[in-house]
């Protein structure tokens, strides 16, 4: 566990429901975070701009506007992690939030434990990219990726990937614990002209899982977010 953060980390929570705000604050306070609260898009932007939090927890349904607008505004000047709270049946909202620049989402109702885990993962990722952005190797499970030599090794054995499979894997591992939407992945790996060809993406994900996962039907690192996209978990 990384307890290297010497300064107290700040989390901004933008949520109009008092009860949820309250329990999120309790959970985060218990873990030693400083919590700033906002109940509207406007307050949220002001707090984010003035208090410079390390992470934002954002509810999508706010009284004075759409949470997605807040993400867009925020992304104009900051890359601080954004964790979105949403209902289960609103895939389209999740996708637009992620496409707008959110990093991860949580479905209501969520447990405090899950929230804390996600918050920590995001902060850890940020700390790492800030510290050694120039890392040339990625490791997860039994797999090692050497970015310099463009080679992949699994449990000591070289894994042969096609160029597209390699690009896909490297892109995903570049965003640990983040959800990448289908559109983002297609755009990054195939180019902008293919942003609607999700069947290709799914087929390549299947091939990739067969090469890097132990049990491809119950993956542990390359996870599917149904109807939304994929998540890489180291």
């Amino acid at each position: 566990m990384t307890s290297m953060a010497e300064t107290v980390q700040r989390v901004l929570i933008v949520e109009d429901e008092v009860e949820i705000r309250r329990f999120v604050r309790m959970a985060l306070n218990a873990e030693g975070f400083e919590v700033i609260e906002a109940e509207s898009v406007q307050r949220g932007l002001i707090e984010a701009g003035t208090r410079r939090p390390d992470l934002v927890v954002l509810d999508l349904g706010l009284p004075d506007g759409d949470g997605i607008e807040l993400i867009r505004d925020l992304r104009a000047w900051s890359d601080m992690p954004v964790l979105v709270l949403s209902a289960r049946t609103t895939e389209a909202d999740k996708i637009s939030a992620l496409d707008a620049g959110a990093d991860d989402y949580l479905v209501k109702p969520f447990s405090a434990g899950e929230l804390l885990a996600r918050v920590r993962a995001q902060l850890r990722r940020r700390a790492r990219t800030g510290a050694d952005g120039g890392s040339t190797a990625i490791e997860f499970g039994e797999v090692k990726i050497d970015l310099l030599h463009r080679s992949v090794v699994r449990a000591g054995e070289p894994v042969h990937l096609t160029p597209i499979q390699y690009r896909l894997l490297v892109h995903l591992t570049g965003y640990p614990n983040c959800v990448r939407t289908h559109r983002q992945l297609l755009h990054a790996v195939w180019g902008s002209s293919h942003s609607d060809d999700t069947p290709y993406l799914r087929v390549y994900m299947g091939q990739l899982r067969k090469k890097v996962e132990i049990d491809p039907s119950q993956p542990r690192h390359l996870l599917t977010e149904a109807g939304v996209g994929y998540r890489f978990v180291p």
Partner: protein, 911 residues
């Protein structure tokens, strides 16, 4: 170069044949040379055999003519009562078509195919009844004699001297599925006749005796056998065509027949029908309406229509064309329809006018690639009597009219002569001639050709009598005047002819233009119409002005039933919804002047639009002649198709509106459900979160509070899953579900479902076995995950902890089949399908939580995907749920695979 491709038209025709054959009933025909050969007996015997084999046979109508052996056979078969039809003062009995359609037997026996039905029946002929039975999928056995065949009719008349009026189109005979020839040598037949075994109608006994001469019988027998042999021949041809045995695919050299208004053209029609049957090629029959022919009396035009109908009955494609040049029109039609052979009539009896080119030569002069067949027309005397009476009278009426104009012509000539008289001293002889010519032109313009000829003759006479010296005498002193008379007569005649012709053509052109104008006006009005009522009104207005007819429009309801007229004013009198329905169902005009219920006062025209039938136009008129001409018919058809297209357009406007409303209500429903979902979940989320915060406070020595907090959290989570299910069900129940379908591997959805359910599954080992050749499936990932989650939840609810669950998927030709197996107690017997109903639980008394929405949701989602879901108890115990999804056509992935290859090094696994 040999082209061995199958002719696509022929293949299409065969496929179409097969399709129609599959639905239609089969017609078996017992065919004989004459009455008394035993057709009815043979038919009944065969029917008895069918009955013994368990076929549902019924007698529709059989004439036993009181013969004992036939009676015996009839009594063993179930019989349908004949329908009683009141005609004038008598009650007549007729075959009950509707009764048979209602009873719907497998096989019905209907004797005497050529029989004409009693007036007031639905169809004029019994063979039309039979066609309807076949269309309804009922097999029919029937009987007929050779003399009833349309194309052999005049041959039989020629041989026997007896005209048979009841005929059956050759098409019916040729399309019969099976023909059984019932044959009896003439000597045996005569013997039977002598023994009184052949039924003869009493009143006509002598004529019939005359018919049954040995010579006649031999000839008829030969005709029957040959016609059947021809049929067998064409069956062989059909068979070979099906086998595609012929190595050379050539186009079919069809025949074109051009008929005139002459009643002798009937022979041309029959001859060409026989010719085309022998050659096995289709034929076309056309009538070219030149400006000259448009002046024909109505009766003659009716006859042309009748001839075209006869041609159609014998299998021809018919058309009425209009053109100024007969030969050119024929050649153009022949070229357009690829008809290399042209049949024309040759009138050998008539004296040829030296300035007229015979039609055959005119056609030949226009093109070299047509074969011309000339058929001799019979001499005119024979047909002069009898049937052309109607034509005579109308010509006579024309005469009385003409008589007046001749009188006028003479009066004008007289007046001009008198008018010129005082000017004689001032005018030269040549100028007097000019004035007379002017009079001839005037008469031609006003009264037409005949009076103009009279005026020409009269003016020459008067000029001679009054103005040529010696005056007041026809004698001429100067021989030069003879030339003046000659030239004057010729000039007067030519000018008169030309002027009259021009005037007539101008009249024809004007009436055409008016008609086109009216059509244009109607289509302009129709383009603005937004409701069927408006269309009905516009149509009625047009028909009123063009045909002086009243009209009504009938539109079907969603079940294709017609109810009354759309526009209730000015309906035609005697309109019958039943006939309209028939016309609609059969895509055929019915009522006045058609094959079906010709005696009805109203004509019903089906309105066929490109996509489907749109309704029926009912037209009633006090002047039936106005609907009958070919030109009028064309106009009527154009009007009907304009109306049909407008109705279709209006229909689609409606559809588009409905769709918009549906989309709007879907959007509303979704936002409403999202709001409810948000309002219900928010307090739950708070409850779960706060209960959990309590458990995390790690306060020492407070274990009862800790436990309470945990219980609170669990209860709230259960509550949440309940709410989820209720909201899902509400969404699925409140209308068609909008699926966000995408092609994806099944593996992915199974993975997410397992991950989502990892808590509920509680360490039960799940084995996933997916076939290697599993294609992508077209599913809504989120909804389908719900299906799998519900099934997994169901499995963990009813099984012991740590008992295994198996998920398998295989692909068949049509489906992708997914099974979820557990090792629990299985499903309650007899309730395998009931468990998918809402609020249904396998065991009512069980303490297992849930309200039984899970499986109902599964079924709703799977069915929205076009699949099926079922549950069963495996023989070895445990429940199995099977989902079958349609396989569909997954997108091709080649494009990107290739992109991948081009990109750099190759991949072993994709070699």
């Amino acid at each position: 170069m040999t082209d061995s491709r199958p002719d696509p038209d022929r293949l299409l025709a065969r496929i179409k044949d097969d399709e129609i054959q599959a639905r239609r009933g089969k017609l078996k025909l017992f065919f004989g040379a004459s009455a008394g050969v035993g057709k009815t007996f043979a038919m009944l015997s065969a029917a008895r055999v069918q009955q013994q084999q368990g076929v549902d046979v019924i007698i529709g109508v059989i004439e036993t003519h009181g013969r004992a052996e036939t009676e015996a056979l009839v009594s063993g078969l179930p019989k349908l009562e004949l329908k009683e039809i009141r005609y004038r003062d008598r009650v007549l009995r007729e075959f009950d078509l509707d009764g048979t359609l209602e009873r719907k037997p497998q096989l019905v026996l209907v004797d005497e195919l050529a029989h004409s039905n009693v007036a007031g029946s639905r169809h004029a002929k019994r063979w039309q009844d039979v066609e309807e039975l076949l269309d309804a999928g009922i097999d029919v056995w029937s009987a007929m004699n050779v003399q009833h065949l349309e194309s052999l009719n005049d041959i039989v008349t020629g041989i026997t001297g007896i005209r048979v009026w009841e005929t059956v189109p050759d098409r019916v005979f040729d399309e019969t599925d099976e023909v059984v020839i019932v044959d009896l040598p003439p000597d045996d037949l005569l013997l039977r006749l002598k023994e009184g075994k052949v039924y003869l109608p009493q009143q006509a006994e002598r004529a019939v005796r005359n018919f049954f001469r040995k010579g006649n019988l031999i000839a008829l027998r030969e005709l029957a056998l040959r016609r059947t042999a021809d049929r067998v021949d064409s069956e062989m041809l059909q068979y070979r065509r099906n086998l595609q045995a012929a190595p050379v695919w050539q186009t079919r050299e069809s025949i074109l027949l051009c008929i005139g208004p002459d009643e002798r053209s009937e022979k041309l029609v029959r001859t060409t029908a026989r010719l085309s049957a022998q050659l096995g090629v289709p034929w076309h029959c056309i009538y070219v309406e030149t400006p000259r022919l448009q002046r024909l009396p109505d009766a003659a035009r009716q006859r042309v229509l009748q001839l075209l109908k006869t041609a159609e009955d014998t299998g021809a494609v018919t058309a009425t064309l209009s053109g100024s040049e007969l030969a050119a029109t024929i050649v153009r039609y022949a070229h357009e329809h690829n008809l290399p052979r042209v049949v024309l009539g040759r009138d050998s009896g008539r004296l040829r006018r030296p300035w007229q080119t015979p039609l055959a030569e005119a056609v030949g002069a226009l093109t070299a690639d047509l074969d011309i067949l000339q058929v001799a027309l019979p001499a005119r005397e024979r047909s002069a009597g009898g049937r052309s009476g109607a034509a005579k009278t109308s010509v006579h009426q024309g005469d009385t009219l003409a008589w007046r104009s001749y009188l006028w012509s003479a009066l004008i000539c007289g007046a001009v002569t008198l008018a010129v008289a005082p000017l004689t001293p001032l005018l030269d002889g040549a100028n007097i001639v000019m004035v007379f010519l002017l009079a001839v032109v005037g008469v031609a313009v006003k009264f037409g050709r005949g009076p103009a000829v009279l005026a020409a003759l009269l003016t020459v006479g008067m000029f001679d009598f009054f103005y040529v010296p010696p005056r007041f005498s026809f004698s001429v002193t100067d021989a030069q005047y003879l030339l003046t008379f000659g030239v004057m007569l010729v000039v007067a005649l030519v000018i008169g002819q030309l002027t009259a012709g021009l005037k007539f053509q101008a009249r024809v052109a004007r009436s055409r233009e008016e008609r086109v104008g009216a059509l244009y006006a109607m289509s302009r009005d129709l383009s603005g119409a937004l409701m069927p009522e408006q269309i009905a009104e516009i149509g009625a207005r047009f028909l009123k002005s063009e045909f002086a007819a009243s009209a009504a429009l009938m539109i079907p309801d969603p079940e294709d039933r017609l109810h009354g007229a759309v526009h209730s004013e000015g309906q035609p009198e005697g309109m019958d919804a039943g006939v309209a329905q028939w016309a609609f169902d059969h895509d055929e005009a019915a009522g006045y002047g058609t094959n079906t219920l010709a005696a009805a006062p109203v004509l019903y025209v089906p309105l066929k639009a490109p996509m489907r039938m749109r309704g029926v136009l009912a037209i009633g008129t006090t002047n039936p002649g106005r609907l009958a001409g070919p030109e009028q018919r064309r106009l009527l058809d154009t009007c009907a198709s304009l109306l049909a297209i407008s109705l279709e357009r209006v229909h689609y406007v409606d559809v588009a509106q409905t769709v918009t409303v549906q989309m709007e209500s879907e959007r509303l429903r979704n936002s409403l459900l999202a709001a409810i979902s948000h309002d219900l979940r928010t307090p739950l989320a708070a409850l779960v979160g706060m209960a959990e915060s309590l458990t995390m406070m790690k306060l020492p020595g407070m274990s009862p509070e800790l436990e309470t907090a945990q219980r609170m959290r669990d209860a709230a989570l259960r509550m949440n899953s309940l709410v989820s299910n209720m909201l899902d069900m509400a969404r699925l129940q409140s209308g068609p579900v909008q699926l966000n379908r995408q092609w994806q591997p099944l593996e992915e959805v199974i993975g997410t479902a397992l991950k989502a359910m990892s808590g509920t599954l509680d360490h039960r080992p799940v084995k996933v076995a997916l076939a290697d050749d599993l294609p992508l499936v077209d599913i809504d990932a989120v909804l389908f995950e719900r299906v799998l989650c519900n099934l997994l939840e169901n499995a963990s609810k009813y099984t012991e902890p740590r008992s295994p669950i198996d998920i398998r998927a295989i692909a068949s030709d049509e489906h992708v089949v997914i099974t979820v197996d557990d090792t629990g107690p299985g499903l309650p017997k007899g309730k395998e399908s009931a468990i998918f109903a809402m609020f249904e639980r396998g065991r009512k008394e069980s303490s297992t939580p849930g309200v039984g929405l899970g499986l109902a949701i599964c079924r709703a989602i799977v069915e929205a995907h076009g699949g099926t879901i079922r549950g069963e108890t495996k023989p070895q115990g445990g429940a199995r749920f099977t989902i079958e999804l349609p396989r569909g056509t997954p997108p091709s992935l080649e494009g990107l695979e290739r992109l991948d290859k081009l990109d750099g090094d190759s991949d072993d696994e994709h070699g």
